[in-house]
Protein backbone atom coordinates (compact mmCIF):
# COMPACT_ATOMS: atom_id res chain seq x y z
CA UNK A 1 0.00 0.00 0.00
CA UNK A 2 2.33 2.70 -1.24
CA UNK A 3 1.15 6.21 -2.08
CA UNK A 4 0.16 6.39 -5.72
CA UNK A 5 1.52 8.66 -8.39
CA UNK A 6 -1.76 10.58 -8.31
CA UNK A 7 -1.16 11.47 -4.66
CA UNK A 8 2.23 12.98 -5.47
CA UNK A 9 0.89 14.88 -8.47
CA UNK A 10 -2.05 16.21 -6.44
CA UNK A 11 0.29 17.32 -3.67
CA UNK A 12 2.48 19.03 -6.23
CA UNK A 13 -0.55 20.79 -7.74
CA UNK A 14 -1.68 21.95 -4.30
CA UNK A 15 1.78 23.31 -3.50
CA UNK A 16 1.88 25.13 -6.82
CA UNK A 17 -1.53 26.66 -6.14
CA UNK A 18 -0.44 27.83 -2.69
CA UNK A 19 2.61 29.49 -4.22
CA UNK A 20 0.41 31.10 -6.85
CA UNK A 21 -1.90 32.40 -4.15
CA UNK A 22 1.06 33.94 -2.37
CA UNK A 23 2.21 35.69 -5.53
CA UNK A 24 -1.27 37.13 -5.96
CA UNK A 25 -2.13 38.28 -2.45
CA UNK A 26 1.17 39.31 -0.91
CA UNK A 27 2.58 42.79 -1.49
CA UNK A 28 6.11 42.30 -0.23
CA UNK A 29 8.56 41.56 -3.03
CA UNK A 30 10.62 39.19 -0.89
CA UNK A 31 7.59 37.09 0.06
CA UNK A 32 6.49 37.03 -3.58
CA UNK A 33 9.94 35.74 -4.40
CA UNK A 34 9.67 33.01 -1.77
CA UNK A 35 6.34 31.96 -3.27
CA UNK A 36 7.96 31.77 -6.71
CA UNK A 37 10.53 29.40 -5.23
CA UNK A 38 7.68 27.37 -3.76
CA UNK A 39 6.14 26.97 -7.22
CA UNK A 40 9.49 25.86 -8.67
CA UNK A 41 9.91 23.26 -5.93
CA UNK A 42 6.36 21.99 -6.49
CA UNK A 43 7.22 21.39 -10.14
CA UNK A 44 10.37 19.49 -9.15
CA UNK A 45 8.33 17.25 -6.84
CA UNK A 46 6.08 16.25 -9.74
CA UNK A 47 9.10 15.59 -11.94
CA UNK A 48 10.77 13.36 -9.35
CA UNK A 49 7.54 11.42 -8.80
CA UNK A 50 7.04 10.85 -12.53
CA UNK A 51 10.65 9.79 -12.89
CA UNK A 52 10.38 7.31 -10.02
CA UNK A 53 7.11 5.78 -11.18
CA UNK A 54 8.25 5.46 -14.80
CA UNK A 55 11.58 3.89 -13.91
CA UNK A 56 13.63 6.44 -15.82
CA UNK A 57 16.00 9.05 -14.48
CA UNK A 58 15.51 11.84 -16.98
CA UNK A 59 13.16 13.63 -14.59
CA UNK A 60 15.80 13.54 -11.88
CA UNK A 61 18.33 15.09 -14.25
CA UNK A 62 15.86 17.82 -15.13
CA UNK A 63 15.38 18.53 -11.43
CA UNK A 64 19.13 18.93 -11.12
CA UNK A 65 19.03 21.59 -13.84
CA UNK A 66 15.98 23.27 -12.29
CA UNK A 67 17.75 23.54 -8.93
CA UNK A 68 20.80 25.09 -10.60
CA UNK A 69 18.72 27.63 -12.50
CA UNK A 70 16.74 28.43 -9.34
CA UNK A 71 19.93 29.14 -7.42
CA UNK A 72 21.16 31.50 -10.14
CA UNK A 73 17.73 33.12 -10.32
CA UNK A 74 17.61 33.76 -6.58
CA UNK A 75 21.03 35.38 -6.63
CA UNK A 76 20.14 37.71 -9.51
CA UNK A 77 16.64 38.45 -8.19
CA UNK A 78 17.81 39.35 -4.71
CA UNK A 79 20.51 41.59 -6.17
CA UNK A 80 17.81 43.34 -8.20
CA UNK A 81 15.63 43.69 -5.06
CA UNK A 82 18.54 45.25 -3.16
CA UNK A 83 19.21 47.64 -6.05
CA UNK A 84 15.51 48.49 -6.12
CA UNK A 85 15.51 49.19 -2.38
CA UNK A 86 18.53 51.42 -2.83
CA UNK A 87 16.86 53.38 -5.60
CA UNK A 88 13.31 53.62 -4.22
CA UNK A 89 13.57 52.97 -0.49
CA UNK A 90 10.81 50.36 -0.47
CA UNK A 91 10.09 46.82 -1.66
CA UNK A 92 6.31 46.99 -1.34
CA UNK A 93 4.70 46.30 -4.70
CA UNK A 94 1.97 48.89 -4.05
CA UNK A 95 4.50 51.67 -3.96
CA UNK A 96 6.52 50.56 -6.98
CA UNK A 97 4.04 51.96 -9.49
CA UNK A 98 6.13 54.17 -11.78
CA UNK A 99 4.97 52.31 -14.86
CA UNK A 100 1.31 52.78 -13.96
CA UNK A 101 1.17 56.52 -14.56
Amino acid sequence: MTPSLEAYVLLSAALFAVGFLGVLVRRNTLVIYMCLELMLVAATLALVAFSRFNGTEDGDVFVFFILTVAAAEVAVGLAIIVALFRARGTVEVDRLDSLRH
Binding site: A7, V48, V74
Partner: protein, 168 residues
Protein backbone atom coordinates in the same frame (compact mmCIF):
# COMPACT_ATOMS: atom_id res chain seq x y z
CA UNK B 1 7.50 4.26 0.42
CA UNK B 2 5.64 4.38 3.67
CA UNK B 3 2.05 5.77 3.44
CA UNK B 4 2.16 7.17 6.98
CA UNK B 5 5.40 8.97 6.26
CA UNK B 6 3.95 10.31 3.03
CA UNK B 7 0.89 11.66 4.86
CA UNK B 8 2.98 13.30 7.60
CA UNK B 9 5.41 14.85 5.13
CA UNK B 10 2.71 16.13 2.79
CA UNK B 11 0.75 17.69 5.67
CA UNK B 12 3.93 19.32 6.98
CA UNK B 13 4.83 20.60 3.53
CA UNK B 14 1.40 22.01 2.76
CA UNK B 15 1.00 23.60 6.19
CA UNK B 16 4.36 25.28 5.94
CA UNK B 17 3.61 26.47 2.40
CA UNK B 18 0.40 28.08 3.67
CA UNK B 19 2.46 29.52 6.51
CA UNK B 20 4.79 31.17 4.00
CA UNK B 21 1.82 32.86 2.36
CA UNK B 22 -0.12 33.92 5.45
CA UNK B 23 2.61 34.94 7.86
CA UNK B 24 2.77 38.64 8.63
CA UNK B 25 6.42 38.57 9.53
CA UNK B 26 8.91 38.08 6.69
CA UNK B 27 11.37 36.19 8.89
CA UNK B 28 8.63 33.74 9.89
CA UNK B 29 7.81 33.28 6.21
CA UNK B 30 11.42 32.41 5.49
CA UNK B 31 11.44 29.93 8.38
CA UNK B 32 8.24 28.32 7.07
CA UNK B 33 9.88 28.08 3.65
CA UNK B 34 12.80 26.28 5.28
CA UNK B 35 10.48 23.73 6.95
CA UNK B 36 8.55 23.29 3.71
CA UNK B 37 11.78 22.53 1.86
CA UNK B 38 12.73 20.02 4.55
CA UNK B 39 9.37 18.31 3.95
CA UNK B 40 10.02 18.23 0.21
CA UNK B 41 13.45 16.74 0.83
CA UNK B 42 11.77 14.06 2.93
CA UNK B 43 9.39 13.33 0.08
CA UNK B 44 12.37 13.03 -2.27
CA UNK B 45 13.87 10.47 0.11
CA UNK B 46 10.55 8.62 0.04
CA UNK B 47 10.86 8.58 -3.76
CA UNK B 48 14.41 7.18 -3.46
CA UNK B 49 15.94 10.32 -4.96
CA UNK B 50 18.59 10.57 -2.25
CA UNK B 51 21.01 12.69 -4.23
CA UNK B 52 18.33 15.23 -5.09
CA UNK B 53 17.20 15.42 -1.45
CA UNK B 54 20.79 16.15 -0.46
CA UNK B 55 21.15 18.79 -3.19
CA UNK B 56 17.83 20.36 -2.23
CA UNK B 57 18.84 20.75 1.40
CA UNK B 58 22.29 22.00 0.42
CA UNK B 59 21.21 24.51 -2.23
CA UNK B 60 17.80 25.62 -0.99
CA UNK B 61 17.95 25.31 2.78
CA UNK B 62 21.64 26.08 2.95
CA UNK B 63 22.07 28.81 0.38
CA UNK B 64 18.76 30.22 -0.80
CA UNK B 65 16.99 30.61 2.56
CA UNK B 66 20.20 31.92 4.13
CA UNK B 67 20.40 34.48 1.31
CA UNK B 68 16.76 35.45 1.92
CA UNK B 69 17.40 35.93 5.63
CA UNK B 70 20.51 37.94 4.86
CA UNK B 71 18.58 40.26 2.54
CA UNK B 72 15.77 40.60 5.11
CA UNK B 73 18.37 41.64 7.65
CA UNK B 74 20.02 44.01 5.17
CA UNK B 75 16.75 45.72 4.26
CA UNK B 76 15.72 45.77 7.94
CA UNK B 77 12.23 44.41 7.40
CA UNK B 78 11.88 42.14 10.38
CA UNK B 79 8.71 42.75 12.30
CA UNK B 80 7.82 45.83 10.33
CA UNK B 81 5.48 46.33 7.40
CA UNK B 82 2.48 44.17 8.23
CA UNK B 83 0.57 43.49 5.07
CA UNK B 84 -2.61 45.43 4.55
CA UNK B 85 -5.45 43.03 3.94
CA UNK B 86 -7.72 44.13 1.12
CA UNK B 87 -10.86 42.13 0.72
CA UNK B 88 -11.33 42.35 -3.05
CA UNK B 89 -7.73 41.55 -3.79
CA UNK B 90 -7.67 38.66 -1.34
CA UNK B 91 -10.91 37.25 -2.72
CA UNK B 92 -9.62 37.51 -6.29
CA UNK B 93 -6.37 35.85 -5.28
CA UNK B 94 -8.12 33.00 -3.48
CA UNK B 95 -10.51 32.50 -6.41
CA UNK B 96 -7.66 32.38 -8.93
CA UNK B 97 -5.65 29.96 -6.80
CA UNK B 98 -8.69 27.74 -6.24
CA UNK B 99 -9.33 27.73 -9.98
CA UNK B 100 -5.75 26.76 -10.70
CA UNK B 101 -5.78 24.07 -8.01
CA UNK B 102 -9.03 22.54 -9.21
CA UNK B 103 -7.84 22.56 -12.82
CA UNK B 104 -4.55 20.90 -11.99
CA UNK B 105 -6.30 18.48 -9.63
CA UNK B 106 -8.83 17.46 -12.27
CA UNK B 107 -6.02 17.00 -14.75
CA UNK B 108 -4.09 14.80 -12.33
CA UNK B 109 -7.18 12.84 -11.32
CA UNK B 110 -8.42 12.17 -14.84
CA UNK B 111 -5.13 11.51 -16.60
CA UNK B 112 -4.25 7.88 -17.11
CA UNK B 113 -1.07 7.86 -15.08
CA UNK B 114 1.11 4.85 -14.52
CA UNK B 115 -1.05 2.41 -12.62
CA UNK B 116 -0.08 1.41 -9.11
CA UNK B 117 3.38 0.35 -8.17
CA UNK B 118 6.55 2.26 -8.97
CA UNK B 119 9.37 0.67 -10.89
CA UNK B 120 11.10 -2.04 -8.92
CA UNK B 121 14.61 -0.68 -9.15
CA UNK B 122 15.05 2.83 -7.86
CA UNK B 123 17.02 4.27 -10.75
CA UNK B 124 17.38 7.69 -9.20
CA UNK B 125 19.21 6.34 -6.18
CA UNK B 126 22.21 5.21 -8.17
CA UNK B 127 24.65 8.10 -8.28
CA UNK B 128 26.79 6.36 -10.88
CA UNK B 129 23.95 6.05 -13.38
CA UNK B 130 22.99 9.63 -12.63
CA UNK B 131 26.47 10.93 -13.36
CA UNK B 132 26.60 8.78 -16.49
CA UNK B 133 23.41 10.45 -17.73
CA UNK B 134 24.75 13.91 -16.92
CA UNK B 135 27.95 13.40 -18.86
CA UNK B 136 26.57 11.59 -21.88
CA UNK B 137 22.97 12.41 -22.82
CA UNK B 138 22.83 15.73 -21.03
CA UNK B 139 26.37 16.97 -21.61
CA UNK B 140 25.33 20.03 -23.61
CA UNK B 141 22.77 21.19 -20.98
CA UNK B 142 25.44 20.80 -18.30
CA UNK B 143 27.76 23.07 -20.26
CA UNK B 144 24.97 25.57 -20.84
CA UNK B 145 24.09 25.55 -17.14
CA UNK B 146 27.70 26.21 -16.27
CA UNK B 147 27.76 29.17 -18.62
CA UNK B 148 24.46 30.40 -17.14
CA UNK B 149 25.97 30.33 -13.65
CA UNK B 150 28.92 32.37 -14.89
CA UNK B 151 26.60 34.92 -16.52
CA UNK B 152 24.48 35.12 -13.35
CA UNK B 153 27.59 35.69 -11.24
CA UNK B 154 28.80 38.53 -13.47
CA UNK B 155 25.28 39.95 -13.57
CA UNK B 156 24.96 39.98 -9.80
CA UNK B 157 28.30 41.77 -9.47
CA UNK B 158 27.22 44.39 -12.02
CA UNK B 159 23.74 44.90 -10.56
CA UNK B 160 24.86 45.20 -6.94
CA UNK B 161 27.62 47.70 -7.69
CA UNK B 162 27.18 51.06 -6.04
CA UNK B 163 25.34 53.38 -8.43
CA UNK B 164 27.48 56.48 -7.87
CA UNK B 165 30.60 54.77 -9.21
CA UNK B 166 28.99 54.46 -12.61
CA UNK B 167 30.48 52.85 -15.71
CA UNK B 168 33.83 54.14 -16.90
Amino acid sequence: MNPAAFTCLSVLTLACAIGVVLNRNVVNSAMCLLLCLAGIAGLFVQLHAYFLAFILVLVYAGAVVALFLFIIMLLDMQGGAPWRFRLVRALAGFAAAALLASGLGLLAARARLAAGAPAASAVGSSLKLYAYQLFTTYLLPVEVIGFLLLVAMVGVVVVSRKPEEGPE
